[in-house]
Amino acid sequence: MNLTLKIWRQKGANDKGKMVDYQISDVSPDMSFLEMLDVLNTQLIEKGDEPVAFDHDCREGICGSCSLYINGEAHGPDRLVTTCQLHMRKFKDGDTIYIEPWRAKAFPVIKDLIVDRSSFDRIQHAGGFISVNTSGNTQDANSIPIEKANADAAFDAATCIGCGACVASCKNSSAMLFVSAKVSQFALLPQGQVEATDRVMNMVNQMDAEGFGNCTNTGACEVECPKGISLENIARMNREYLKASFKG
């Protein structure tokens, strides 16, 4: 396949940046999207140009590093996959592919396609935990049975990989899906109840302080989320938050 790539190039955080066109030939349909970029980068280096910077690590859809906005969609046109799991067979010979970084005020660009997602971490610092020390004499794991349905729902929420596709695809750059996934996981487990009030308040306050937009329930996040995190989690977080607000 021969393709035209339109890629966002930006030298550093303070650079203005622009879209640059590249031609790439002999792309195999078996390549992953990132392997296609590897090939481009090898060519760029050999020509004496700077390679395109993008985040990646596990390349199997679990670490949440990769983060490309491909042809107007977070992680590209395929569903329930991350960019690293997207394969070139989803494209046709002669296609033009736009490749952009996540766009959000709370995700400033570091270089080219790499953005700074530390705002996500700071939200987790604010309350994404259960306060239990490592003592070696915590109560036995089976002392509190947990209804399977709740355990499974908590697990489903917990599979969020923190990639930020939800923010990137939301017209409001809202981080609600991400935050609600963590709030839900703990809200569904008995271990999470004790700190429920503070947790949701603190996490939402931090989310707001980071400059994410407000959810208007367009549902784009749920569609683009590579892990299929459900909008139900946002509703649950809204409930948790309101409960917490009325408690004081």
Partner: protein, 665 residues
């Protein structure tokens, strides 16, 4: 220096308790005066950082990803072992200990493994308390799976994402401490050297990967939880960034490197699809329960399959070679990992590989689908001779068991494994070798500790499934935070360590020199060129089967490649900016040294054990032959070039377990 493993006295079962009772403690007020650097935020580093901070130490934690949550532990799938005996099937600390030592082919340290088994149950309690959503049964209690090589069901899991859930648990514990200010987190930082002051590890040199700044960080002790070095093979199931740099820099500063040649090669991974391939993906071993492995019997059929004039499903039974069933009639497709891997390689080397690159064998579910389909038809009272119906019913059963794996396979390969056999090939997966540590997890450099996959301690020559997660968390939550106190107790009056010393200066300059060399080299070939070449050498000569001749030539070739690398590598861009090629270049430079030591270690180890198979040392049936005189840990001391490394031996003593031949008959 003589190796002192510092194994406590007393009966095996009491060693850890006695040791904890006897080591020095740091009182809580004094812990505030002590800084600890933890490099790595995987299961090992993450859990250690959180626990040290809970105890009151000031922790600085480092990882090269943009968040601790992305450490490679996130990718572990299958599960974590613990001797909880929830299933009441007779599990116990001793049994877990026994299985682990035996699984490691009697090349691990008894006392360490016993302690691992002992604290394993605490891990599960701790994780549940943190909100890790392990799988549960309908009664609301924790569920277990059974894993290869053992007779009990002791593996806890969270669907196929156990590593993710455990790591997010450790990450949440870290977050709590970051929020409290007890951990200062340095993301996108790469450790490039250890600073040793007066014989003690007192800090590190790190590069800020965003700005390119070289930073000095001091502490009273340094802990490395920097993971495994499987990427020395270029292609592995490890993440792209997994590297040996931290461990290797520690080695160069005096930490002995143990058993570098012990590598686990996993038989069922998705094969390489072309030269563009950047990494390999694991397909759970459980598939071998129902899949039959084969290649065509005749070369002409291989050709026809490769150029797609023949479909594998059309090849007649008598023209197929079910080589595992042929060679190992007793165990068939369920032979251990190393045997299955070697057998696949043997067939492919002989020219029977079934894909374009010639490196793939079939894992076929057709007979399982038939068998299950007939069974279902029978149970449901339907027509067992209706082929379409039987196939449909059979596929449903297989889907229930392995649906997610089949889907993952289909996404990558674009073939439907229900209709046509899967293609698989072995891939590098885990490294048992690593930095040598004593019972306290301290390396040969005082004040420098190594935990998780980065150390060598618990898995001997072969790791059992679901025990790496256990080890990482055991080290980080329950072992290191206490043993490190013994060392730090002497440091309560030391005060903050200054970074304005000649040792820091020297280390920083060395780091700068290397970086400048790489940037200014302006050679002709990108870093990946060398990495791929190294990977090829490693794979072909230090892979699943090794022999003296190949190992010797590998040593030569790697050392030449290293020289070529430093002469001809091209690193674009600047040092003072985000520059992934530069980071990669540094890592490959270290792999190029480690690779040579790896080959040397494999050459010296004139026996076969676990993941290390020397063709010269096999039984008549082609099984691994251990040799009594090699019942030791090889710990290598750095002396300049890898070829000059000096071997130290730690003899392994088995007092609580009888050393036996592994047999699959």
């Amino acid at each position: 220096m003589a190796l002192d493993s510092k194994i406590p006295q007393g009966p095996l079962a009491d060693k850890w308790t006695n040791h904890k009772n006897n080591i020095n403690l740091v009182n809580p007020a004094n812990k505030r005066l002590i800084d600890v650097i933890v490099v790595g935020t995987g299961l090992a580093g993450g859990s250690a950082a959180a626990t040290l901070a809970e105890l009151g130490y000031n922790v600085k934690a480092f990882c090269f990803q943009d968040s601790p949550r992305r450490a490679h532990s996130i990718a572990a799938q299958g599960g974590i072992n613990a001797a909880k005996n929830y299933q009441g099937d007779g599990d116990s600390t001793y049994r877990l200990f026994y299985d682990t030592v035996k699984g490691g082919d009697y090349r691990s340290r008894e006392a360490n493994v016993y302690r691992l088994a002992e604290v394993s149950a605490n891990i599960i309690d701790q994780c549940v308390a943190q909100g890790v959503p392990f799988a549960r049964d309908y009664g609301g209690l924790l569920d277990n799976r059974s894993f290869g090589g053992v007779l009990v069901s002791r593996t806890f899991y969270a669907k196929g994402q156990t590593g993710q859930q455990l790591l997010l648990g450790a990450y949440s514990a870290m977050n709590r401490q970051i929020g409290r200010g007890k951990i200062k987190m340095y993301n996108r930082h790469e450790m490039l050297d250890i600073v040793v002051v007066d014989g003690k590890a007192r800090g590190i040199i790190a590069r800020n990967l965003v700005t390119g700044e070289i930073e000095r960080h001091s502490a009273h002790a340094v802990v490395l939880g920097t993971g495994g070095y499987g990427n020395v093979f270029f292609l592995s199931t490890n993440a792209m960034g997994s590297n040996v740099t931290a461990a290797w820099k520690a080695h160069k500063r005096g930490a002995y490197f143990a058993n570098p040649c012990y590598t686990q090669i996993h038989p069922t991974c998705i094969p390489v699809s072309g030269d563009h391939q950047s990494k390999l993906t694991l397909m759970s071993e459980s598939l071998r329960n129902d899949g039959r492995i084969w290649v065509p019997k005749h070369k002409k059929d291989v050709e026809a399959i490769r150029n797609k004039t023949l479909k594998p499903t059309d090849l007649k039974e008598e023209d197929r070679d079910y080589y595992l069933e042929r060679r190992y009639p007793a165990f068939g497709n369920l032979v251990p990992r190393d045997v299955a891997s070697r057998a696949a390689k043997e067939r492919c080397d002989a020219g029977f590989g079934v894909n374009a690159t010639g490196e793939a064998v079939y894992l076929d579910f057709a007979s399982a689908i038939q068998r299950y389909g007939k069974e279902q038809a029978h149970v449901k009272g339907l027509n067992e001779n209706d082929a379409a119906l039987v196939k449909k019913l059979g596929q449903e059963v297989v889907k229930n068991k392995y649906g997610n794996l089949f889907q993952m396979y289909e996404k990558i390969v674009d073939e439907n494994p229900y209709e046509t056999p899967m293609m698989i090939y072995p891939a590098v997966h885990y490294t048992m070798g690593g930095i040598w540590v004593d019972y306290n997890l301290q390396t040969t450099v005082p004040g420098l500790y190594a935990i998780g996959e980065a150390n060598f301690s618990d898995h001997g020559a072969n790791r059992l499934g679901a025990s790496a997660l256990m080890q990482g968390l055991a080290d980080g939550y329950f072992v290191l935070p206490y043993t490190i106190g013994d060392y730090l107790a002497d440091d309560i009056r030391t005060g903050p360590i200054s970074t304005e010393t000649k040792e820091f200066e020297e280390a920083e300059n060395k780091v700068r020199e290397d970086i400048n060399h790489l940037i200014n080299n302006k050679g002709t070939k990108p870093v990946d060129y060398f990495h791929k070449k190294l990977g090829k050498i490693m794979w072909n000569k230090c892979g699943m089967a090794r022999n003296e001749k190949d190992l010797k030539s590998a040593i030569e070739e790697i050392s030449q490649l290293r020289a070529e690398f430093w002469k001809d590598v091209r690193v674009p861009g600047d040092a003072n900016e985000f520059n992934e090629e530069l980071a990669k270049a540094g890592r490959v430079a270290d792999f190029l040294e480690l690779g040579e030591l790896f080959a040397k270690d494999a050459l010296v180890r004139e026996e076969s054990a676990g993941g290390h198979f020397r063709e010269e040392y096999q039984t008549a049936e082609g099984e691994a032959k251990r040799r009594k005189e090699f019942q030791f840990v090889s710990a290598w001391e750095y002396k300049g070039e890898p070829k000059d490394a000096v071997l130290h031996k730690e003899d392994l003593v088995y007092e609580n377990i009888e050393v036996k031949e592994r047999s699959y008959k």
